[in-house]
Symmetry: C2
Subunit: 342 residues, 2 copies
């Protein structure tokens, strides 16, 4: 009898665990493989970092409201974000593009305008790629390299009890931006004479359409000589990233609701959509901010930084992953990040 | 007025030229970008190599006759082949996989069995990836790293007048294998009771379904201390690769018809299909053999190698790219490699 297991029974991370558990490394240059934001490769003085992300039309983006330049920009930005999460500096990208015959050369030009703008912003070089046709829609696959001094690398495994947990920027905005864009699309589909009105939501739609990897934070931490011990980028939602850090480091967390960074537009839009703003922060993805842990002594150096927020602390694994609510209740956080297969 | 240019008006290589011409490099580590089999990155003692390839169901493969394990193997092999073409040793791969809900976990297991077998054969480490859903079919995007000693790198630009042109293995087999597989598929579609009979064609169908990157040749050349000056892998057909070498190096070529390496099964099947065997060699793709140039003095060292064939020599650019036929006619070779967009 032929057994068939559906992929959504395992989910994305279950599937990754399953397919990678039997892989042995043959090369001494392969230091760390699957399980962090990027692979760690030892080619000498520094570590080289390598990461890859695939964006598929109809799954990751909708060109009916995503300008194709922004998609190009985003494809680079989200890869750079993985290098940032290792405390690294991005160096090179290679890009695989699959294009259906719906796309003209002019559309491809616009896609690469966005790619080029991101390469300039993040000082990363496009050094190769593969361009092919696709039976349906647009596929973008970007791989990025980076470098990091060996003693400055940030790994998910390095959270220690007592560390302060920091988050950059604000969270939940990209998710609420997506809700607005989806709603306006439905309005437009129902009545094509109605033009989408996004003027009320410039910040959160921008968060969704043109996320910026936080390389600025990486450079500033370097200048302040603060090393983020463990770090991860917030791509699937804060809750999901806390679980990843916990899994790799064996730490538990206490996160304070009243310390969560939420922009006013995110908050107001969540209320408008009848979504708990904390849910948007915890489970909304694609903010591409950084979540990291620091030694307590580094707090003094960072405490006045306008864009770094101290949202909680690390504890023993047995304590679990918890939210301390505004009225001081401690409730376990559940991981409900975005899973492409669910 | 909105001008629309179709991508097939430019073709794959025209499109690549167009989208990459404005890209500047920001990092001193980026030595060579688009235009060779892999990008060349300078991280210290050796060069690091980086390349990427995307395989899209319905464009690059047909799972009705391609066992999914073989597809996994092939996805690694064709990337390793790009590293081989730089005279490099493959080190790491990262894999992006897009899966529609047609695929079960068991199918994904089989895909990764093939990937794992190739990683073992080529001593390359799977260090990361991205797994996502896809609205239609299977998408595989593999990026590979390699290393090469700086003075051993082979670049397309390094052909010089008088160089001997070498090809490994035999050519045209993968293309003829594809013709057989496509024919048997049509027979099966017309009458599902007819099982495909591939027993007559084991070699050429194997060439199509499970190509092996020629790392064996790279290791042997190293042991014999012969450096291939310019090298490229034969993925789009011999003619297309000669044009790539010519474009980068400014050399012309004379290739001898009676020196072209053709397996007997390839030859016989071409005759059966009413295809000129030379056309299969020149314009059939996916053999993943190596095409390289050597100094004349290295001929003595290689002349008895059973799997390296001396098919012609390099001349001035003005001479063009020519085939010297069996009856000593000189005819210009046209590039008619496989173009996904045509």
């Amino acid at each position: 009898m032929n057994n068939r297991t559906e992929i959504n029974e395992l989910g994305e991370f279950g599937l990754i665990d399953r397919i990678t558990k039997n892989f042995l490394h043959h090369n001494p240059t392969s230091r760390i493989g699957v399980g962090d934001d990027a692979a760690v490769i030892d080619y000498g003085k520094d570590y080289m970092l390598l990461s890859t992300d695939m964006l598929v039309e109809g799954v990751h983006f909708d060109l009916s409201y995503m300008p194709i330049q922004h998609l190009g920009y985003k494809s680079i930005s989200i890869n750079v974000s993985d290098i940032a999460a290792m405390n690294g500096i991005p160096q090179q990208v290679v890009i695989g593009v699959g294009l259906s015959n719906r796309f003209s050369v002019e559309a491809v030009d616009k896609l690469y305008e966005g790619i080029q703008a991101a390469c300039k912003d993040f000082k990363v070089d496009l050094v190769g790629g593969d361009t092919t046709s696709s039976p349906s829609g647009l596929i973008l696959s970007v791989s990025v390299t980076g470098i990091v001094e060996k003693n400055r690398i940030s790994l998910r495994s390095k959270v220690e009890k007592g560390d302060i947990i920091c988050a950059t920027g604000d969270l939940g905005g990209a998710y609420m931006g997506l809700q607005v864009l989806e709603r306006e699309k439905q309005v437009f589909l129902a009545n094509p004479d109605m033009q989408p009105d996004l003027r009320k939501y410039p910040y959160i739609t921008g968060r969704q359409l043109k996320p910026r990897a936080r390389m600025d934070i990486i450079y500033e931490l370097g200048e302040m000589n603060v090393k983020p011990k463990a770090m991860i980028d917030i791509s699937d939602g804060l809750a999901s990233e806390l679980f990843h850090l916990s899994k790799r480091s064996g730490a538990g967390f206490f996160i304070y609701e009243d310390k969560l960074p939420i922009d006013k537009q995110t908050y107001d839009t969540a209320v408008e959509f009848n979504i708990d703003p904390v849910t948007a922060v915890m489970n909304g993805g694609e903010d591409y901010e950084l979540l990291f842990s620091i030694n307590q002594e580094d707090f003094e150096v960072l405490k006045n930084h306008p864009d770094i927020h101290f949202i909680g602390y690390a504890a023993e694994l047995e304590k679990g992953i918890n939210l301390v609510t505004k009225n001081q209740n401690v409730v376990p956080i559940k991981a409900q990040g975005w899973d492409h297969f669910k």
